[in-house]
């Protein structure tokens, strides 16, 4: 791999030049990593206590990723590493001091930033990240178990096999300590959806439409699955309605893959997408009695508007008047719909019709 020479304007950080010395003798290394360039402005706040292992985990990903993507932008690399650009630059500074004994010039990682691009000359030892730790694998396995699909056992086994042998028992134990929910649909339905997403293939759905309270037949280009307010949604382009829509996965009774392939939306288009693109009208406000407030405000999708003197609260929901009515009823008489007037009327009608069943 040939790398462009670093410029001489001082903006580059290069290990070899900084640590050049006799190849057989360990060069004197600073006891602490070099301080980042001083920035004008107020003195920085004391840094929060950092677990050194956090940085190492980041670096064990950063190095192979930068090797695999030569010249990656600092910003992009920071995003991939889940850290700020400042942290990334500090990590790169730290890397200048990393090498392997006997610490000759060739024993250091060759890292430099040119312009805003990162180059890491290959240090064979860190060309791939290490295996999954048991908690990394267990967290991912818990997420996969909760979504489900025909491949979930295969996927969990593959994750287990990717943990160092000595830690597999800990993985098994830890996996039993996180339960992220039960799959929203039979594994066969989810398996077909996942395959269709991976293969860009259209699907035919038997879908229960809540607004029409009837089963509908849909042809959808499945883009992805997403989770909001405790529910899973299929997000994809509905052919008849000619726009992307969200489908509650637990309302899909059947999913049939079709031969038709589709062109997935580009990153820019995906960036603009929202799970619920339709405006759902004015938010609905509800009054919650004191006894149910703590429970109600802890629910996802509920926004607290104000607390009331009696210990109750006014909350707001954005999911429409039907959902609001059901939510109020689920609180067993401890909630009522306040506004808008149409939603309150809808709620009253719902209550009256239900009461009729009980022979009022």
């Amino acid at each position: 791999m040939s790398l462009p020479a670093p410029p001489d304007d001082g903006s580059s950080r290069k290990g070899r030049t900084r640590h050049g010395g006799s190849p057989s003798k360990r060069p004197a290394r600073p006891q602490q990593r070099p301080a980042p360039a001083a920035a004008p402005g107020p003195a920085p706040l004391p840094a929060p206590r950092v677990d050194p292992r956090d940085r190492l985990r980041r670096i064990l990903f950063l190095v192979p990723y930068a090797v695999k993507h030569p010249g990656i932008a600092v910003k992009e690399l920071a995003r991939r590493c889940g850290c700020t650009e400042k942290e990334l630059v500090e990590d790169l500074d730290f890397l200048l001091n990393v090498g392997s004994p006997p610490f000759g010039p060739d024993d250091f990682l060759d890292v430099y930033v040119e312009g805003d691009r990162v180059h890491v000359a290959l240090h064979q030892s860190f060309s791939r990240p290490p295996r999954f730790t048991e908690s990394e694998a267990a967290a991912l396995a818990a997420a996969a178990q909760a979504l489900g699909g025909e491949g979930r056992e295969r996927a969990v086994k593959a994750l287990r096999d990717s943990v160092p042998r000595d830690r597999r028992q800990s993985f098994d134990e830890l996996s039993g300590r996180i339960y992220a929910g039960a799959p929203p649909a039979p594994d066969s339905v989810l398996g077909r959806l996942q395959r269709a997403i991976a293969e860009h293939r259209a699907v035919r759905l038997a879908y229960h439409s809540a607004s029409r309270d009837a089963e509908t037949d849909r042809v959808v280009h499945p883009y992805t699955l997403a989770q909001r307010f405790g529910h899973w949604y299929l997000y994809g382009h509905d052919r008849q309605r000619e726009r992307p829509l969200a489908f509650r996965v637990d309302r899909i009774r059947e999913c049939q893959p079709l031969a038709e392939r589709f062109e997935p939306p580009g990153d820019a288009e995906l960036g603009r997408m929202r799970l619920f693109s339709e405006t759902r009208g004015e938010p609905v406000q509800l009054r919650i009695a004191a006894g149910a407030t703590a429970w109600a405000v802890a629910r996802p999708g509920i926004r607290l508007v104000k607390r009331l003197e009696d210990g109750g609260a006014v909350v707001e929901v954005g999911a429409g008047q039907e959902w609001a009515a059901r939510f109020a009823l689920s609180l067993g008489g401890q909630a009522e719909v306040l506004s808008p007037a149409a939603a309150r009327k809808h709620f009253a009608e719902q209550v009256r019709r239900t009461l009729d069943r009980y022979g009022a």
Binding site: F132, S170, I178, Y179, Y233, D250, G291
Partner: protein, 334 residues
């Protein structure tokens, strides 16, 4: 030498070595860190080894033989993340499920999950469409700012669970004005309807209790001897059983048989909402669901939430109570 630097240098040394590296050689290469002949140096090295293993780097001691000297080594096969060799649909499952979970901002082991997702790009040599599907899942699942307290409690509880450390918990029960302090052994975390719960052995009540994580006021994980477990979870404990309990299965009173009628067409979603232990009998124009409830009030609330397509048939008292609730609501709304 700083610890993070020492760990990485040590890993680099062992990865590059063609044969096991003796303890003496390691000491020579890290004179400031592992100096001396005493136990202290070895203990320090053992701690570093344990830290490396926690990072996914297994360092092993090999007894020598005719061909190789005795010493420490990192097996390349045991170190590098292997290819998962999964079909595209399974990769889609991992990418999408992991990204959606992370996007919620509240997931146990969130930091580990983020690392795992990053590593997936190496473990899946041909991720196909999954990477962009994952990006979309992440964006569509993001749900505003996660409550910082919940994020923090989940992180600390994750650690306490993994290391089996006891926790001092200050908790405010639903409806209670005062918070109470208690000591618990954290067994696991589960999610229901989008909210996280802690299942833990309560030292005072001497049984497993569940705690709504958002109602935790404060918590302190036992800081002493972080690598030594404080407890062993009871053998009969199953997080999945506890997590899949319906609200009407919480123990409030003696078991009661309840019957609920639902009009046709009954969607899967509604049927599934009664849980796996409900017995379903078809009747003309609909279904009758039979349930054993130990918290009948919760069952009533669930049936009410289904609106006018469902009603409680029996027991009589629960039916009467549903009527009362609806009648008083209607009065309030008039």
């Amino acid at each position: 030498m700083q610890k993070d630097q020492r760990l990485l240098d040590l890993a680099a040394l062992l990865l590059k070595a063609a044969e096991p590296v003796s303890w003496r050689e390691i000491q020579e290469q890290f004179p400031e860190d592992y100096a001396g002949t005493g136990e202290a140096a070895i203990r320090k090295f053992e701690r570093d080894k344990a830290d490396l293993l926690e990072l996914g780097i297994p360092v092993r001691y090999a007894a020598g033989d005719e061909d190789l000297p005795a010493g420490y080594l990192i097996d390349k096969d045991e170190f590098y993340l292997p290819d998962l060799r999964l079909p595209p649909e399974d990769l889609a499952l991992l990418y999408v499920a992991g990204s959606a979970a992370l996007a919620q901002g509240t997931f146990p082991y969130a930091r580990d999950l983020a690392h795992a997702l990053n590593k997936l790009s190496f473990a899946a040599s041909a991720p196909g469409a999954s990477e962009s599907a994952a990006q979309a899942a992440r964006q569509l699942s993001a749900d505003g700012e996660a409550p910082p307290a919940v994020v923090r409690w989940l992180e600390e509880l994750s650690r306490a669970i993994a290391h089996k450390k006891s926790v001092d918990l200050v908790y405010r029960k639903a409806g209670a004005r005062e918070a109470t302090a208690r000591k618990v052994d954290p067994y696991g975390l589960y999610q229901k309807a989008g909210a996280w719960y802690l299942a833990a052995w309560c030292h005072t009540k001497e049984k497993v209790l569940t705690f709504h994580v958002s109602r935790i006021v404060s918590l302190v994980v036992n800081p002493s001897a972080p690598r030594t477990p404080d407890f062993t979870p009871r053998k009969d404990f199953s997080l999945a059983d506890l997590a899949s309990r319906e609200t009407w299965e919480f123990e409030q009173h003696a078991p009661q048989r309840c019957r609920v009628r639902i009009d046709a067409p009954v969607s899967n979603e509604v049927l599934a909402s009664f849980g796996p232990r409900a017995r379903v009998v078809e009747e003309e124009g609909g279904l009758v669901v039979e349930i054993t409830a130990t918290n009948a009030d919760a069952l009533m609330r669930h049936v009410l939430s289904l609106g006018d397509v469902a009603e409680i048939l029996s027991p009589r008292a629960l039916r009467d109570r549903s009527r009362e609730v609806l009648a008083s609501l209607l009065e309030k709304l008039a």
